[in-house]
Amino acid sequence: MNLFIQQVLNGLAVGSAYGMFAMSFGLIFATMGILNVAHGTIATFGAIAALTVVENWGFSFFPALLIAILTGAAIGIVTDRLAFQPLRARANTLGYLITSIGVWIVLIALGETALDHQIKTFPPDLLSWPRLVTTNIYLAPGQIWLMIIGPISVVALYLVLTRTPIGTMIRAVGFSDVWSRISGVSSTVVILSTVGISAGLAGIVGYLSSIAFDNVSVPLGEGLLLKGFAAVVVGGFGDVRGAFLGGIIIGVTEVLGAQYVSGDFRDVITFGLLILFLLFRPEGIFGEIKFGAAR
């Protein structure tokens, strides 16, 4: 029984990471139609930046978290201005996808250079609390912070999107670019806030999961991208609650499946779930926001 609880908790921690990533990835896709394959690498950069300030200037956990957010948001905004903005008047999903592949290639190369092609880790004394240790259950601080910040971020993002003027505007751009033009809301402001929020969140995920998984590397972001992608499909990309829930579902089933079915079978469960949802409920658990060409 203890083992079961341990694994559920592990699953929730992993799932929080997937879920947060899925929210940020899905937000961009739902509002702007950008299937951004570079998004995982933006998360990696959050971790790299935090590691840099921790190693070189002895930053503690929270200031480094802030650095991770700012780095993610900055990279997101810069790439949006340089690569996506010029396409906005005429692009479609394909155009954005190809452009994001270009951005992805550049970011991966930069990330590998920054890390010197190595896998690095945070110093163990960065975070020693809170820690949960009983005879059979052990949760590392990184896991606990994932489980704390994950739910906070989903509630916060949901409230921002539904209760604040800027959130309404973000959703309006998701519904229709024309609508926002008519209503006189500057689409630049809306786009930059969306990208900032989304990429900042990616920075958080990169930072926290690199602590929890003891791994700062480029493949970390790629893993988040693939699992986050699956979570978005399962949860539906139009609703942040759905995307987060999708991440939790995938995280928990994955860890439990690996424990009780077979370790090799881990990804079969994830992507089997993915296929089932695509076939029978492509709009995800919560359904999608209608965007793009309404027919």
Partner: protein, 296 residues
């Protein structure tokens, strides 16, 4: 010349095979579908072919001839594409793109778990039978096919389905069937290219034919121009060649060039480098200049 070939021969071999992958991605785009699925079919085809060769060699017998492996690759690729097309092509364009990415991810998972046949993470060695000339010949034959296709009834249907599926349907074109043919043919090409790629790297692991290659093949097609078959081939050549030639200057970050190139192309030349519309404009201009000269 031969020194040049010693250094860059392998680069060109990969470039030509990438050309085939790009053509298979182009077929999808030509029918108005963004699909990364050919890589998944390529993976299936490559594993079947590799396994057949492996068993033969393990038994101490001679490997099957190259033609047999190519044929197996095409059949497996085409069959997988045909079967999955019934499900995938029901989805709307966004979901279709997502589902085909998912398919590529799943193909790897299947390859990992069928380790009795695929060798799992360890992989499976692939005896190389092809030469550069084989690859060039195959690419040549496929190019001729695309040339015929373009001006055939099917090519016109594809153009119409890509631009205005609704109009195509009301002109009597069965949009779903056109898409399914294109999808299946893309699977055949993918299977073929998969077998070639496996023989080039001479070792097949689940990541040999994976998302990166899927993205790169779509990117090559769009970079070169996804409106005529020449485009994807040119795109694949540039995509492979440019970083190699720049390696002396850029070192290990040579791939950055491709990324920047892709973004620049998308921003300034959204129809890619090779655009048949441009040819038409030129030929019309030349014609009108000639008639003017005749008149004066």
């Amino acid at each position: 010349m031969s020194q040049f070939w010693d250094i860059y021969g392998i680069t060109f071999e990969f470039a030509f095979v990438l050309g085939l992958f790009a053509l298979s991605a182009f077929l999808g785009l030509w029918s108005g579908v963004l699909s990364l699925a050919p890589i998944a079919y390529a993976s299936g085809a490559a594993y079947v072919s590799a396994r057949l060769a492996y068993d033969k060699v393990m038994m101490g017998e001679a490997n099957y001839p190259l033609v047999f492996h190519l044929f197996v690759g095409m059949v497996v690729g085409g069959f997988l594409a045909w079967i999955t097309s019934f499900v995938l092509l029901r989805l709307g364009s966004h979901y279709l793109a997502l589902a085909t990415i998912a398919l590529v991810l799943i193909a790897r998972v299947i390859a990992l778990n069928l380790d009795e046949y695929t060798g799992g993470t360890v992989g499976i060695p692939v005896p190389r039978q092809i030469t550069t000339w084989h690859i060039l010949l195959i690419l040549g034959v496929v190019s001729v096919m695309f040339g015929v296709l373009r001006k055939s009834r099917f090519g016109y249907s594809l153009d119409a389905v890509r631009e205005q599926p609704e109009v195509a349907s009301s002109l009597g074109i069965n949009v779903q069937r056109v898409r399914r043919y294109a999808f299946t043919f893309a699977g055949v090409l993918g299977g073929l290219a998969g077998v070639l790629q496996a023989q080039l790297v001479q070792y097949l692991v689940p990541e040999t034919l994976y998302v990166e290659l899927a993205f790169i093949s779509i990117a090559s097609a769009v970079l070169g121009g996804a409106y005529i078959w020449v485009g994807p081939i040119v795109g694949a050549l540039l995509y492979t060649a440019i970083p190699e030639f720049l390696e002396p200057f850029l070192g290990s970050s040579k791939n950055v060039v491709n990324g920047i190139l892709l973004v620049i192309i998308m921003v300034f030349l959204q129809r890619g480098l090779i655009d048949p519309r441009q040819f038409r404009a030129w030929s019309l201009k030349r014609k009108s200049r000639q008639t003017k000269e005749v008149a004066s």
